[in-house]
């Protein structure tokens, strides 16, 4: 067994953004074990100040290319809360529909393209084109389906266009609604084939119970709307997030670390699964059972399977949403509601694919932003990642240095970090 380790991977591959893995062990004593974040600070809080209420969703969409729909809607909900805008049922259903598919696109990208190669001994998805062509083609088809869904409703797959405060600038055509339904239905054989494939993968045995935080809803598996729930036993309205979530500066990271009830907590697919398992579609529950995924699950590596189960659920729920909407058909007159700027503060809370996402805006009576706070899911995971790393290292310490490095990279990758999203600071006075 190694007595000394000096591992630095800079940057880690197959994650979004720049993060470094650093492990320093001397004479069996761990001196440094961290996920160092040297990613550029983005300054979105400054860029929003002075902008007109029509603009923040367009600007904050550009925080992230993978979760642009999530940022767009956290932003829109914050503005609508501040301005007192009430949307109608058609708008809500269309929003939930597009929201499902950004999640499908992102989860597909992560599970098949970014994480799966590790389980097949490959450095990327590209060699899998030769060795596992069926699964690569499935991945490309699922991603295309999800991107097409977002494009049909949102106007574009990355940085949607039609999605604005008050509703949609343009609705899909009736024919497109049925086209989307067909696309969803034709995904099932690919889901079944994927299940067979995932069952052959051996995920590392690792268990570390932590606090799991996500949004929650009485009627459905919450992604777009809900209250904030903790597995440690509290539920609060989104606008009261500051009563429970605290951030602190850490020297080795341009992204802050977060605490709630304990020293760290987890957000993302596994938190959603643990908190809201009973709201998954029956089909999704069956898939989970086949994969040995039971709620509550404390194995970080199972985030990958939770993401796949969510893909199944989103496809099931999308078909229901389309059927609901097409009962009466789409009404052009209900595409947008009236919006009048006014002074106010509003908080928008959603589940981005990677976890809880909060935008908090204050407007003046001209409808211009005076202040903005953005709380990013990947930030919320950093402290938990490092605690997991500390618990996991002893389990792999007898392996070679290369194997230890890969094991730790896989642990970090399991969180599906979105690092360039996460480099923000809150300009809020912390309660002392």
């Amino acid at each position: 067994m190694a007595e000394n380790l000096n591992i630095e991977v800079s940057p880690i591959s197959r994650v979004e953004g720049h993060g470094d893995l650093v492990i320093d062990m001397k004479n069996k004593k761990v001196e440094k074990l961290m996920l160092r974040i040297p990613e550029s600070p983005r300054f979105f809080e400054a860029m929003l100040v002075g902008r007109n209420w029509t603009e923040p969703s367009h600007i904050t969409s550009r925080i992230c290319g993978i979760c642009s729909v999530a940022h767009t809607y956290a932003s829109i909900k914050a503005t609508e809360a501040a301005l007192g805008v009430k949307i109608n049922d058609q708008i809500l259903k269309l929003r939930k529909l597009i929201f499902h598919h950004e999640c499908v696109q992102s989860n597909t990208l992560h599970v098949y393209f970014l994480a799966a190669p590790d389980f097949l001994g490959a450095g990327s998805v590209f060699p899998l084109v030769q060795t596992n062509p069926e699964i690569v083609n499935i991945a490309l088809r699922l991603k295309k389906m999800a991107n097409d869904m977002v494009r049909i409703i949102g106007g574009r797959a990355i940085h949607p266009i039609t999605t604005v405060v008050g509703g949609f600038t343009k609705l899909p055509a009736e024919q497109e609604m049925y086209q989307m339904r067909d696309m969803l239905k034709s995904a099932y054989p690919d889901l079944e084939a994927s299940l067979k494939f995932f069952k052959t993968l051996k995920l590392p045995e690792f268990k570390r119970e932590t606090e799991y935080i996500s949004i929650t809803d009485n009627k459905e598996y919450a992604l777009y709307d809900g209250k904030i729930k903790s597995s440690d036993g509290w539920i609060i309205d989104g606008k009261d997030y500051l009563t429970k979530i605290k951030e602190n500066v850490v020297e080795h990271s341009t992204g802050k670390h977060c605490r709630a009830s304990r020293d760290s907590y987890m957000v993302g697919a596994l938190s959603r699964f643990n908190n809201n398992y009973d709201k998954l579609s029956d089909n999704a529950k069956t898939f989970a059972e086949e994969l040995g995924l039971k709620a509550p699950c404390y194995n970080t590596f199972m985030i990958n399977f939770a993401q796949f189960v969510e893909i199944v659920h989103s496809i099931d729920d999308s078909i229901k949403l389309i059927d609901d909407l097409m009962q009466s058909g789409l009404d052009e007159n209900k595409a947008m509601v009236n919006v009048k700027p006014k002074a106010g503060r509003g908080v928008g809370v959603v589940e981005a694919p990677r976890g809880l996402l909060i935008h908090d805006y204050t407007y003046n009576d001209e409808g211009k932003v005076t202040k903005a706070n953005l709380i990013i899911p990947t930030n919320m995971n950093y402290a938990n990642v490092e605690k997991d790393m500390a618990d996991y290292l002893p389990l792999v310490i007898n392996k070679s240095e290369d194997e230890i490095t890969l094991a730790m990279e896989m642990l970090i990758r399991a969180y599906d970090p979105c690092i360039s999203c996460s480099t923000h600071f809150l300009n809020v006075k912390l309660n002392k």
Binding site: P11, S13, R14, V15, E16, G17, P38, S40, P41, R42, F43, E45, A46, M47, V49, G50, N52, E55, H58, I59, R62, I63, C64, G65, I66, S68, L109, F113, L114, P117, G123, S124, V125, F126, V129, V136, L140, K143, K144, N147, G155, R156, A157, I158, H159, I161, T162, V164, T169, K170, V249, T254, C418, S420, C421, H424, F425, N427
Partner: protein, 251 residues
């Protein structure tokens, strides 16, 4: 003929342009067999510093970005700027508008001296750029076209006419008829007028055509009783770095 070696990089940006490459879906496998991607940290673990062509996303906003970009500039024979951030600085330039020191103070308070950040610039302020795949996000077809052109050794054709032409071709009703401000008359086409087609005004994320006829835009504004302030605000979403164009590197 050996396949060109390509490196794909991201500086400060949202990763969306690199994602658009992965979003090529049906074309991705063909692309990967026509070129040799030797550096693409977002998707591939192994990497090599031996590439002929560099596709670069993101603008330069930190000293670290400058170092990385200059390193790429020493290796690559051809550099393609992908997306608005790399091509013109993009939305990241709003930080310059707000004021870099002010922004550091607002967001980081007493920790501001820990922060590495400089005035945002497009990549051609630091390295010679051979081709631009503009837009936020860029058009996938244009990225593919540029790469194909580089493989066969021809110059890619980038439109130098306004978005209005594409709108007309699609039979769209002009957004000004709905009272929606649109920069189509001076914005560079190549995106299939996707925003006006979705009934949302063009914000010139691909920048302007060469020698835009600013006066024509003003005539349209006057016709619809719109103010220049509205346009200037839209103008600065993606083009706030434009003033520094005279320091563009030619070699």
């Amino acid at each position: 003929m050996s396949k060109p070696k390509v490196g794909i990089f991201g500086l400060t940006g949202c990763g969306g342009c690199q994602l658009e490459i992965l979003n090529l879906e049906d074309q991705l496998i063909d692309l990967v067999s026509a070129i040799d991607i030797v550096h693409f940290t977002e998707a591939i673990t192994e990497y090599s510093d031996n590439y002929d062509i560099a596709l670069v996303e993101g603008s330069v906003t930190t000293k670290h970005d400058i170092e990385r970009l200059e390193h790429i500039g020493k290796i690559a024979k051809i550099i393609v700027a992908i997306g608005a951030c790399a091509c013109s600085g993009g939305l990241n330039c709003l930080k310059n508008l707000y004021g870099v020191e002010k922004a550091k103070e607002l967001v980081y308070g007493d920790k501001k001296d820990w922060i590495d950040t400089v005035e945002t610039k497009p990549i051609d302020a630091y390295v010679k750029v051979d081709y631009y795949a503009r837009g936020c996000p860029p058009a996938r077809a244009e990225i593919v076209d540029i790469v194909k052109s580089l493989i066969v050794g021809k110059i890619p054709e980038i439109p130098n006419y306004p978005v209005c032409i594409e709108c007309k071709r699609l039979g769209n009703t002009c957004l000004y008829e709905f009272g929606i401000v649109c920069m189509g008359p001076i914005a560079r086409a190549g995106c299939d007028a996707r925003c006006p087609s979705a009934k949302s005004g063009c914000v010139a994320c691909r920048g302007f055509i060469d020698d835009p006829n600013i006066n024509a835009q003003k005539d349209i504004l006057a016709k619809y009783n719109l103010t220049v302030e509205d346009i200037m605000e839209k103008f600065n979403l993606y083009n706030a770095c434009k003033k520094d164009k005279n320091e563009q590197k030619t070699k």
